[in-house]
Symmetry: C2
Subunit: 227 residues, 2 copies
C-alpha cells in the first residue's frame, strides 16, 4: 500500500539520458505513425534534434536494440522504451489546484496516449468543490475537497501528482502528498518546494522558461549594439 512505501533511489542512467528517453519514444511513435518500420540512428536523431552519437549512446543503456548498417526496429524500440519508462501501462494521476492551468491539464488530450489518466481533481475553494468537469468526451470527474487528498491517494495507490495551486498553497499540498506516499510530483507553482531525499520533483516554471528566452534576446541585442 502506498503509505508503507519508502522513497528509493533511481540508479543507473544519467539524468540527461532519462530526460531524453521520452523524446525518443515520442519520435519513434511519430515515425511509426508514418508507416516506417526500420530507422537508422541518423534519421531518428535528425527528426528529434539530437546527434546520432548522443542517441546511440543513450539507447545503449537499454541494451542492444539496433543492428549495425540496418538501424532500429521501430516497434521493438518503442516497446523497450515504454517498458523502461514504465509507460507500457497507464498511470493514474491526481491534479491539485483547479484554476485555469489545472483545468487545462485535466483536459489535455496528450496525456492519455502517453501513459496517463486523470484519477481525480482537487481544490480547496468551497465554491468549486463538487463541480463536475468534463475532461474528455464522456469522461466526467468531480472536483474533490483537498481535505480528502491523502485518503484518496492511499486508497487508490496513486503514485504521481501534479500541483497547479498558487505559490502560497504549494508547499502545504506538497507536504500532504509526500506524507500520503507520493514520491513523484510535477509542479507548476512558481516556488521552490522542500521535499525529503528520494522524492522526485519536476518543476515547470512558465515565467522562468520565458526568462531564459529573454536572456538570449537581451544578449543578442547587446551584441548587435556592440558591433
Amino acid at each position: 500500500m502506498a503509505q508503507h512505501r519508502t522513497p528509493g533511489k533511481a540508479v543507473g542512467l544519467p539524468a540527461a539520458t532519462v530526460a531524453r528517453l521520452p523524446i525518443y519514444l515520442r519520435g519513434l511513435n511519430e515515425v511509426k505513425a508514418r508507416g516506417i518500420e526500420v530507422i537508422s540512428s541518423e534519421e531518428l536523431a535528425d527528426s528529434i534534434n539530437v546527434t546520432s552519437a548522443q542517441l546511440r549512446k543513450d539507447l545503449s543503456y537499454l541494451g542492444g536494440h539496433g543492428t549495425r548498417g540496418v538501424g532500429y526496429d521501430v516497434t521493438d524500440l518503442i516497446q523497450a522504451l515504454s517498458v523502461t519508462l514504465g509507460v507500457d501501462k497507464q498511470w493514474p494521476i491526481v491534479i491539485v489546484g483547479c484554476g485555469n492551468l489545472g483545468m487545462s491539464l485535466a483536459k489535455y488530450a496528450g496525456f492519455t496516449n502517453r501513459g496517463f489518466k486523470i484519477a481525480a481533481l482537487f481544490d480547496a475553494a468551497p465554491e468549486i468543490i463538487g463541480k463536475v468537469v468534463e475532461i474528455s468526451e464522456g469522461q466526467k470527474v468531480f472536483i474533490k475537497d483537498v481535505a480528502s487528498l491523502a485518503t484518496f491517494i492511499r486508497e487508490n495507490n496513486i503514485q504521481i501528482a501534479v500541483i497547479t495551486t498558487p505559490a502560497a498553497a504549494a508547499q502545504g499540498v506538497c507536504d500532504t502528498l509526500v506524507n500520503a506516499g507520493i514520491f513523484s510530483i510535477m509542479t507548476f507553482a512558481p516556488i521552490s518546494l522542500n521535499v525529503p531525499s528520494g522524492v522526485d520533483v519536476r518543476q515547470i516554471d512558465l515565467a522562468s522558461e520565458l526568462q531564459i528566452l529573454t536572456f538570449h534576446e537581451q544578449t543578442k541585442a547587446n551584441e548587435v549594439i556592440a558591433i
Copy 2:
C-alpha cells in the same frame, strides 16, 4: 524592425547557469517580500534547492554582487539579475493556439509581474476567431486569425512567441514565426520543431515530464522487488 533582424548567438554563460538565473531571481523576490534586505549565499541557496557553491559560481558571472562574510544585498542582486535576464522591462508575447492550454496561459497571472504581457492571441479555427477573451480583470483581447500573425509580429516588434497548437500545426506556425523575425519560441506542442541555427526553442512537453517521473517510479519499484 523585426523583419530585418538576423539570428545572433548568445555567448558567455553556460546554458545550465542561464536556466538557474530565473530561479535565483524568483527566490530573491520571495526573500524581499518577506522584508529581508541582506542574505547569505547559504540561505539563498537553501531556499531554492541548489548548493551555495553552485549559487556563488553562477552569480560570479554577473560580476561582484556579494560581500564576503555579509552576503548579498537583495535589492541590488534583484536589479542585476533583472537586467541580465532582460526583465527590467516588460516583453509583449503572442500565443498561437487558443485551446484549453493556450487560454490558460493567456490568463496566467504569473507572467505579468515577471516581465511579460500578452500582446495578442491567434488561432486558425473560424468559430473562435474574433472571440473576446478576458485575460485579466479589465484586460480583454480578441482572438485574431493566424493568417495575420506575421504582419502583427512585424508591426508590433514582437520577439517572443508561445506555441500551444496541436502537434500537427506546430511546425507550420513555427516557420511563420521564424520568417516573421521571431527567434525565441516556447512551445508546448509534443513534436520536435525544426528551426534555423540561432533560434532558441524552449519546449515544454508535459507528457515527457511525467514520463521522467514514471521512469524513476519504475526503477524504484524494480529495486524493491530486487531486494
